[in-house]
């Protein structure tokens, strides 16, 4: 069965600084990979997804993620963080989108 690890429980960055959130997965084949964002009191919103093809995927709100098969990773990046990016971020993996497993989440704090 697939599993997901987000090593960082909490990250603090300054506004305008770059951001990288880590995600490592365990799965026998190339899975479907997702990043979701959850603002306080809200449900999960899809940021981006990877199924195949170009390993660098662009998402909404200026986020991107890179699939690295050799490292079993799918890290999320943003060149310049805005205060409104403060939220919790979840990586998810699955053989199909009917069968996904979510990481524990990384909470992002943005300092002024």
């Amino acid at each position: 069965a697939q599993s997901v690890t987000q090593p960082d429980i909490h990250i603090t960055v300054s506004e305008g600084a770059s951001l990288e959130l880590r995600c490592n997965y365990s799965y026998g084949a190339t899975p479907y990979l997702f990043w979701y964002v959850q603002s306080p009191g809200q449900g999960l919103q899809l940021l981006l997804k990877y199924f195949s093809g170009d390993t660098l995927v662009q998402g909404i709100k200026g986020f991107e993620a890179e699939f690295k098969r050799s490292q079993s990773s799918f890290n999320l990046r943003k060149p310049s963080v805005h205060w409104s990016d403060a939220a919790e971020y979840f990586c998810a993996v699955g053989p199909t989108t009917n069968d996904m497993r979510f990481g524990a989440g990384t909470r992002l704090t943005v300092k002024p």
Binding site: V4, Q6, I9, Y32, F34, Y36, G41, Q42, G43, L44, Q45, L46, K49, F51, F90, A92, T96, T97, N98, M100, F102, G103, A104, G105
Partner: protein, 115 residues
């Protein structure tokens, strides 16, 4: 846009009560899911449903049941609520069939407290 609506944002119940959490989606999706979200554990799947009256256990079904009498509605039932079921509950939906490119769409969640 897909709209997944969970009937309550906050709910407070007592130990031993029977609790119903309701979820409705407006996109004629076949597949619906119930997750619970706890700090440090992420989202864990409780139950999912592929069609009306169809249900499958997820990773943590103990203490829960579900009902899918209509395609648009998926209910999560706590038969006898306990304090360890205090959590955030999230509902999601997705089109049916083999739809690998379709991400799950989530409701805003119900924060349930069992006293």
């Amino acid at each position: 846009d897909v709209k997944v609506t969970q009937s309550s944002r906050y709910l407070v119940k007592r130990t031993g009560e029977k609790v119903f959490l309701e979820c409705v989606q407006d996109m004629d999706h076949e597949n619906m899911f119930w997750y619970r979200q706890d700090p440090g554990l992420g989202l864990r799947l409780i139950y999912f449903s592929y069609d009306v009256k169809m249900k499958e256990k997820g990773d943590i079904p103990e203490g829960y049941s579900v009902s899918r009498e209509k395609k648009e509605r998926f209910s999560l039932i706590l038969e006898s609520a306990s304090t360890n079921q205090t959590s955030m509950y999230l509902c999601a939906s997705i089109p049916g069939g083999y739809s690998p490119n379709q991400p799950q769409h989530f409701g805003d969640g119900t924060r349930l407290s069992i006293l």
